[in-house]
Symmetry: C2
Subunit: 282 residues, 2 copies
């Protein structure tokens, strides 16, 4: 596996692959890789001739009071996982390789979409995500790019950005990967102490309850999210950020839980903010 | 010459060229082509194996009270000129091909750069320019892209955007092409009636005066721009928008006319807004 630290190195290699008629898949990550990321790499390897994984904790998507500094990193472990899963190149740039000191250009969706759900507490988050993903698209020029459904709003926003910006890149969403007790895999799970780790299953329990209520015939968004909230509020270490039903494409609030609607939640467990979601009918 | 109306057609053709190892040059235009545009095409043809010219009046770079509807169009004439100058493809999309009805993604430089000079009277202009040029970059994926120095701030902004967004595309600036009496070639010159056309030479006369003062040793920006303004104010049909000296890269105001400084002006001749500029030491 090639370890590329510079943009030039990535460009040169992907140009060679493309000149040889090979397709290229991109898996953008912030590193500290887990089985969720591995599933994206597996999918990319199965669909593309060559797979590039970016491993970059992107500063522009963190707010001033967020966990940029604390975000866990383990590049050696990342490389071992990527080798094992058959990635061809990992792009591991320094911040200075990605952003000039006076960098000021951003890609942003100027609609309500990035202000909904996670955008309410993370106002600049999706602007940073769109910007770094657009840069990675420009550097790697992949045929396909892979994102996890765990970050459902991010996936919807990337789809919209790629469409609006005329990127000829297929955006592939991949299912949430969970621990054996249902907790969605996340690099941030490492922040949890033992008690919090137990409490964190409340997100999946809420997801399971929501799904069951819908399966039993309930289609009122308020009704279902209220029951989910009640369950979460019973967990002393949990504090709800939001439990919401949204249009699966636009992220706008909906009243009725039709197929395709996203039911998403963000919950603080202690100081750690975790997210989870499901799509009605999937 | 290929006439492409759709993004898919452009992508397919440029992919074929690239698979054959050919380099591709892009000349973005709003059509109604003149010798200024022709000089960009000539330069592109001399440097690239294949040349794509986009011919698209981009609505997102026009303000609500600007001349989007009135902007002159003559596609047949454009095609004849492009054929003659050796362009390989003209991309001539409908607005609906470039923008979905709910398109909301923009590329924007969030610094003072796009607020200076023309940005003062055209606050959303450069956001629209950056967005459409980024889209054209994504559609055509050129090796080089060509822009006229007449739109000096646009050129500086595109350079910055391409750098910040990690586009591996060389941005080539080309000299201003002028009428025999010095008026910079512009599609908007067609708005001028006979009296205005005569008065419009005041921009070039001001440019010539500014250059002469600097050649004679004057390096004070205020002094030179004041003399240029005085000359323009003597022309009854002219109304100054700005006459300014700016850093050639950042577009920030400067006091001293060192080499590389941009001296730029925008002047209304009747209702038509014209621009011109020169770079100190060039």
């Amino acid at each position: 596996m090639i370890i590329a630290k510079t943009v030039a190195q990535v460009r040169e290699q992907t140009a060679k692959w493309k000149a040889d008629g090979l397709t290229v898949g991109l898996v953008p990550t912030m590193g500290y890789l887990h089985e969720g990321h591995a599933s994206l790499v597996d999918k990319a390897v199965s669909e593309c001739d060559r797979v590039v994984v970016s491993d970059f904790v992107n500063p522009t998507q963190f707010g001033p009071n967020e966990d940029l500094e604390a975000y866990p990193r383990d590049f050696e472990h990342d490389c071992a996982l990527l080798e094992k899963h058959g990635a061809d190149m990992v792009f591991y740039p320094d911040v200075s390789e990605m952003y000039f000191p006076d960098a000021a250009t951003y890609v942003e969706i100027l609609s309500d979409m990035p202000k909904m759900l996670c955008g309410k507490t993370r106002p600049i988050h999706f602007r940073g995500v769109c910007t770094v993903v657009a840069k990675l698209f420009n550097i790697v020029t992949p045929d396909k790019a892979y994102f996890g459904q765990k970050d459902a709003q991010q996936l919807a926003i990337i789809r919209r950005m790629a469409r609006d910006m005329s990127y000829g890149i297929e955006i592939v969403g991949c299912p949430i990967i969970r621990e054996s007790d249902g907790l969605a895999k996340s690099s941030r799970n490492t922040y949890l102490n033992a008690d919090e780790r137990k409490a964190a299953t409340v997100l999946y329990r809420a997801v399971t309850l929501g799904k069951r209520l819908i399966q039993e015939g309930e289609r009122g968004a308020d009704k279902v999210t209220a029951e989910m909230k009640k369950l979460i509020e019973a967990e002393p270490l949990a504090r709800i950020d939001y439990v919401s039903a949204a249009d699966g494409v636009t992220m706008e609030p909906v009243d009725k839980l039709d197929d395709g609607v996203l039911v998403a939640l963000a919950v603080y467990i202690g100081r750690t903010r975790l997210i989870d979601n499901f799509t009605v009918g999937e």
